[in-house]
Point group: C2
Chain length 672, copies 2
C-alpha cells in the first residue's frame, strides 16, 4: 500500500467495507498486473516518478486557458521524459516505451496526455521499424536523447481509414537528389498528429511516392519541419494546432502542409523500399506481413489501456457508491449506501469484471502474437490472418465496451460524476477517442468479418481452419445447440450464435448475388449483419479466454481469491447471456425457464460480490495521483475533496467577478 494512502483519515464506511473484504487483495493485484514481478516493477516505477511530487499541479489543468495548459504540459513533459530517460528505462529496457506501466504513470503527470507522447510512442518505434541500420544510427540516438522531437503524420483532413487515398505527394528529383513534398489540396493537409501542432521539430510524413513519373504508393519520410534554433517552421511548411478537442487538449494535435518542400533523398525511410540516386525504385525483399507487427502491438496496447481506464472508472464509482448515501426505502432506517441498491450493483460489477476480462484477453493476445512472430521467423505465416482478425475485433470491442461502461460509472455517480474533478469525463473522453483512432470500430469489425466469412467457406468446403474459428463447424448443422448454464455451456452457446450468424451472412451474400449484383455490392448490403456477427465472434473469444485464463491464473491462489475471481467471470458470462437472450433463443435450446433461472443467478452473484466490491477495486491498486478523482480517492473524503477542488477555480479567486461591474450592475439598474 502506498504511503499516500496511510496518512489521511479514511471515511468510516470505506473502512468498514475494507474490513468486510474476505480475500487477499494483493493476489488479485498480481493477477491484474500479469504477475508479481510486474506489480513490483510497476510500484518501483511509480515510486520513482511520483514520489518527487513533480506531477502535482497547484491549479487544476482544466482551470487553465488553452495556452497555459499547453505550456504546463510541455513543462511537465520535460520533467517526465527526463525521469523516464535517466531512471526508468534502466529498469525496463527500451521495450518499456510501449509498456502500459509507463502510460499509467504518465496519467499522474498529464490529465490529457503529454505532447511528447507520440515522440516516444510512434516516432521512435517507427524509426526502429522502418529505417535501415545506417538511418537508425543517425536518427535514433538523437531522438532518444530528445535532441529532436518527432511526430507521426499519416491521417489527412480528408483521409483517415483509407490509406491508399492519401493525397500528400513526395516526388523524387534526381537532379538535386531530393524529394519534393507537396500538399495539392486542402483535404491533403495532415491533420490530428499528436505533438505536431507546436512541439515537434521533425515529423514522419506518410506520402505517395513518385519517381520516374510513376506512383509507388504510400511511404514514410523523416521531415525536418522547424528550425532547431528558432523553432520557426521552415519556408514551405505550414504547421499549427487543429483546434479544441473533446479531450487530448494538451496532446498538441496538429495540422501540416507542404508547398513544394524539399528534403534529402536519405530522409526516405528505406528499410522496406529504396529510391536510388538515379530515381530507381527498389522494393526490398522482406515479408510484407511483418508490418502487421506494429499494428498488432498498438492494438494490444489499446486493449490493455481500455482495461486500465475502465478499472479506474470502476474504482471511482465503487468507492463513491460506498460513501454516498441516498433515500430511505424503509421509514426510520438510515439512508443506505447506494452500493446496496441492486440497480447500482448491476451498473458497477460488470465494469469490474470487464476490466479483468479485457486485461486478461489483452495479455493473451500479446502472448499469441509473440508465438506467431516466432513462427514467422521460421517462415510460417499461416496464423497471421487469424491474428489480424483477432486484434481487429478485440480492439473494436474493448474500446467500445470500455467507453460505454466508463459512462455507466459516471451515470452511477449521479450529478457529481459530471464534475471534471471526478475525472470520469476525462477518462471517457480519452477512451472514446480510442474507439475511433487506429481503426474505427465498424471498419475493424468488418475486417474481422471478412476473415470469418472466408473461414466459414473453408469449413463448408470441408477444409480445416485455425483454432479461434474452429467452432464454426457448429453451424454446419442447423440444429440448435444444446443449452446448459455451466460456463462451458454458455461459451459453447455463444460460439454457436457466432457460427450461425456468420453462416447466415454468407448465405445472405449469396442470395444478394443471385439478383445479379457483384460480390462487393452483396457484401455491402450485408454489412449491418456482418458487424453483428463479428461482434458475436469477438464476444465468444473474450468469454472463452477470460474463463480459461482466470481458471489457469488462479490455480495456485488462495481459496477466496479463486472464489471471487470465478464469481466475476461467471457474472460476465451470465450478463452477456442475458444481454443476448434473443441470439440464444434463436440458436440454442435455452428456454423461458432457463432464462429466469439465469436472471436469478445473476442477481445472486451481485449479492455475493457486494461485500468484496471495495476490495476488488482496491486490488486495481491505483495511487490517488494516478486516479486524480475527488470521488474515488482511497480515503473516501468525497465532499471535502469536491469543495477543495472547487475553491481552486479562477472563478472563486475573489467575491465579485469583473463582469458584475461591466454588465450585471448596469443591467439591474436599467442602464444597459
Amino acid at each position: 500500500m502506498s504511503t499516500d494512502k496511510m496518512s489521511v483519515k479514511v471515511n468510516v464506511d470505506l473502512q468498514k467495507e475494507r474490513q468486510k473484504c474476505n480475500f487477499n487483495i494483493q493476489e488479485v493485484t498480481f493477477i491484474f498486473d500479469g504477475g508479481k514481478e510486474q506489480t513490483l516493477q510497476r510500484k518501483k516505477i511509480e515510486d520513482i516518478a511520483l514520489n518527487s511530487g513533480a506531477s502535482i499541479d497547484s491549479i487544476p489543468e482544466e482551470c487553465l486557458g488553452l495556452k497555459e495548459r499547453y505550456d504546463n504540459a510541455v513543462r511537465k513533459s520535460c520533467i517526465y521524459s527526463r525521469i523516464v530517460k535517466n531512471e526508468i528505462l534502466e529498469i525496463t529496457g527500451l521495450e518499456a516505451l510501449g509498456n502500459p506501466v509507463l502510460r499509467r504513470t504518465a496519467d499522474a503527470f498529464f490529465k490529457e496526455i503529454s505532447p511528447f507522447m507520440l515522440h516516444l510512442g510512434m516516432f521512435v518505434p517507427t524509426i526502429i521499424g522502418q529505417c535501415t541500420e545506417e538511418q537508425q544510427a543517425k536518427w535514433l540516438p538523437r531522438a532518444l536523447e530528445m535532441q529532436i522531437i518527432g511526430a507521426y503524420a499519416q491521417t489527412e483532413l480528408g483521409h483517415g481509414t483509407f490509406i491508399r487515398g492519401l493525397e500528400t505527394t513526395a516526388t523524387y528529383d534526381p537532379e538535386t537528389e531530393e524529394f519534393v513534398l507537396h500538399s495539392p489540396t486542402l483535404t491533403s493537409y495532415k491533420w490530428w498528429a499528436g505533438g505536431l501542432g507546436n512541439t515537434a521539430n521533425h515529423c514522419i510524413v506518410v506520402a505517395q511516392l513518385y519517381t520516374k513519373g510513376q506512383c509507388h504508393g504510400t511511404h514514410p519520410f523523416i521531415v525536418p519541419i522547424r528550425d532547431m534554433e528558432t523553432h520557426e517552421p521552415f519556408p514551405g511548411v505550414k504547421v499549427g494546432d487543429v483546434g479544441v478537442r473533446m479531450g487530448f487538449n494538451t496532446a498538441d494535435n496538429g495540422f501540416l502542409s507542404f508547398n513544394h518542400y524539399r528534403i534529402p533523398r536519405e530522409n526516405m525511410m528505406m528499410k522496406n523500399a529504396k529510391v536510388l540516386k538515379d530515381g530507381t525504385y527498389v522494393k526490398v525483399a522482406r515479408h510484407e506481413k511483418l508490418t502487421y507487427g506494429t499494428m498488432v502491438f498498438v492494438r494490444v496496447t489499446l486493449v490493455k489501456e481500455a482495461a486500465i481506464n475502465l478499472a479506474k472508472a470502476a474504482t471511482i464509482a465503487v468507492r463513491y457508491s460506498a460513501v454516498r448515501r441516498q433515500s430511505q426505502p424503509k421509514p426510520d432506517a438510515p439512508e443506505p449506501q447506494i452500493i446496496d441498491y441492486p440497480t447500482q450493483q448491476h451498473k458497477l460489477f460488470i465494469c469490474i469484471a470487464t476490466a479483468h476480462a479485457l486485461q486478461i484477453t489483452g495479455d493473451w493476445l500479446w502472448r499469441t502474437f509473440k508465438d506467431v512472430l516466432a513462427d514467422m521467423r521460421g517462415g510460417n505465416t499461416d496464423s497471421l490472418p487469424e491474428l489480424h482478425a483477432l486484434s481487429s475485433c478485440l480492439k473494436a470491442i474493448s474500446t467500445s465496451d470500455s467507453a460505454a461502461y466508463i459512462e455507466q460509472c459516471r451515470f452511477a455517480c449521479g450529478g457529481h460524476g459530471y464534475m471534471l474533478s471526478s475525472n470520469l469525463p476525462l477518462i471517457y473522453s480519452f477512451v472514446t477517442a480510442t474507439r475511433t483512432y487506429e481503426g474505427d470500430y465498424t471498419v475493424l469489425l468488418l475486417q474481422t468479418a471478412r476473415f470469418l466469412v472466408k473461414a466459414w467457406e473453408q469449413v463448408e468446403a470441408g477444409k480445416s481452419v485455425t483454432p479461434t474459428v474452429s467452432y464454426l463447424t457448429l453451424a454446419a448443422t442447423k440444429e440448435k445447440v444444446l443449452w446448459n448454464d455451466f460456463a462451458e455451456g454458455i461459451i459453447r452457446s455463444f460460439q454457436a450464435v457466432a457460427a450461425r450468424k456468420i453462416s447466415a451472412c454468407a448465405e445472405t451474400i449469396k442470395r444478394h448475388m443471385k439478383t445479379g449484383i457483384c460480390y462487393e455490392d452483396a457484401w455491402q448490403l450485408t454489412t449491418v449483419r456482418l458487424v453483428s456477427a463479428a461482434e458475436s465472434h469477438c464476444r465468444s473469444v473474450i468469454c472463452q479466454t477470460y474463463w480459461n485464463e482466470i481458471t489457469r491464473l488462479t490455480a495456485s491462489c488462495s481459496t477466496n481469491v479463486k472464489i471471487v475471481m470465478e464469481q466475476l467471470a461467471t457474472l460476465y458470462l451470465i450478463y452477456w447471456a442475458l444481454e443476448r437472450s434473443g441470439d440464444l433463443l434463436r440458436y440454442s435450446t435455452i428456454s423461458e425457464k432457463d432464462l429466469n433461472r439465469l436472471q436469478e443467478r445473476y442477481e445472486e452473484l451481485l449479492a455475493l460480490i457486494r461485500p468484496n466490491a471495495v476490495g476488488l477495486v482496491d486490488a486495481f491498486d491505483f495511487r490517488d495521483e494516478i486516479l486524480r478523482s475527488t470521488l474515488g480517492a482511497y480515503d473516501g473524503r468525497v465532499y471535502e475533496r469536491l469543495m477543495e477542488e472547487a475553491l481552486k477555480s479562477p472563478l472563486n479567486d475573489g467575491p465579485v467577478q469583473a463582469s458584475f461591474h461591466k454588465y450585471i450592475k448596469p443591467l439591474t439598474k436599467g442602464k444597459l
Copy 2:
C-alpha cells in the same frame, strides 16, 4: 430558407442530395415544429434574435479561459435578455419562458448555456407558482425587469434525489420575526444551482422549516445573498462556483452555505404554507397534487429538448456523411460518400426517426397534461398518477436514448466528430446531463415501475385501469401474443412484452416475500427487472404514440411526405423489434423466419430513406448560427470550416509558443 443559407457556395454533393429529395421539406418542418404557426413564429423569433449578429463570437468560447468565458456569457446574456424582454415576449406572451423556441434561439448565443437561464427558467416560474399574490406583486416585476437576478437552490452536496434528506434549516425566530438559515454540515452546502456561483443576487432556497421546535419539512424561501450595490456576499453567506464541469461551464453552477443567516418572515414563499408572526405553522388547504404541474412541465420540456438536440446531431452527421468520401470498395471506382454505406445509414436514420418520435411524444404528453389539468380544476385527479408515471419514464428514456444516439452521430463522423468545432461533443455533454438532473434515469424508471405494478395488481383483482396501461390485460393469459409485422402488430407485441415483464416482476416480489422478507426488501431485490419492465412500457408508449400521431399529422399532407414519414416511423418500430428480439421471442409467437424477414425489411427501409436523408435533416430547419458546427453547416464546406476554426485557436496566434524557449530548447540542447 434563411438568408444565410443562400449566400454561400454549396458543396456539390450536398446540392445533388437536395435535388434527389422527393418530398416537400416545409411540410415536414411544420410537423416537427408542431404546426405551421409554430414554424412561422419560430422563424420570426430567430430573425429578431439572430439577424443582429449579436450572438457571434470572434473567438470560439472553448478557446477562452474560464473567467473570460464566463464574462463573455454574462455580456451576451445581457444582450439576449434585453431582446427577449423588449421584443420576443411581446410576440409570445409570458408562457414563452418555457418555450423550446427560446431555448433553440438561445443556443445561438450560448454554446454552453446562459448564467441567466435559470433566472427565467426556474426563479420566475417558482415565484409564480409558490408565492402569494401579495408576494408576487413584490418580487415578480423586479425579477422580470432584471432588477434582481435569481437562482434556485435545492440540491445539496450530499443530497439530490432524496429531498426529504435535505439538511439546510430555516428556523423561525418569533422575537425578530425572522427565519434563521443555517448549513449545519459540509454535506448541507447547496451545490449545482445554475447562475448561483457569481451571477445571482437572490436565491430561492429549499430548507427544512422549523418553528416552535417542530420540523415541518422542506419549504422554499427567497433569500437575498449579495449586496445589490457591491455584489459582495452578505455576512453569513458563502457562495461560489462548484468547479469545472463536463459541460454547462458558462451556466455558473454554484454552491451556497449559511451561517445563522437571517431573512424576514415574509421571504418564506407562502402560497402553500404559512408561518404566522407568532410562529404558528399553517398549511394552506390546496390540492397538493397541483405541484405535479411544474414537474410535469419541466419533464415535457426535457423530452422536447432531447428531441431537438438529437435532431441537431443528426443534421450534422447526415450532412457530413454526404460530403465525406471514404475507401474504395470496388477497384477504379471513386470513393463513395460514406452515407452510401448501410452501416452508416444504420447509425444515422434511427436518429432522425427518434428525433421525430420524441418530439411527437413530447407534444402528446403536453396535450395530455393540459387535459388532466382541466380535469383537476373540475376536482377529478384520477389521471394524475398515470401522468406522473408517464412523464417519469418518458423523461428517462428520451434523455437516455437521445444522449446515446448523439454519441452515435459523433462516432459516425469519425475523428472529426471529436473536434469541438463539430459541436457534437458539446451537444452530448448537454443532453447527457439531462439524463441525471430533474430525476435520475434509474430513479424515474422505478417510479414508473411502482405505478405499473400497482396497475397490474388492479388488473389481477379485476378492476379497471387507466388508458396507457389497459394493455396489461394482455398478461392475464400466459399465452404468447400472436405476432404480425404490421405496425399495429408490432406495437401490440411490445405491449405484451411490457405486460408480461410487469406481471413477472409482481410475481418475483411475491416470491421473495415468501422467504419472509418485507415488501420493500422484496421490491429492492426486483429492481433490476423493474427498470427493464418500465423501459419496455415506455417503449411501447412511444411506439404507439409515434405511430398514431404520425398517421394523424400526415393525414392532410402530400403523398410523398406521408410516405417518408411512414417509412421513418416503420423504421423506428422495426429497429426496436430487432433490438428486443429476445423479449419478442419470449412473449410473442415471432419465429426465426419472421425475424429474418424483419431484418430484410429494415435494410430495405434504409435504402428507401437514403435518397431523402439530407432532405429529412434539412427539414429540422436549424440555422447555421444555432447548429454551430463545422461539419453540419448548410453549405457543407466541411474542410474549409474545420481549418478556419482551427486558425482561431490561441495556440495558432504565432509560429512559436513561449514554452519552446522556456522548456523545449533547453531540453533539446541538453541544458534542462
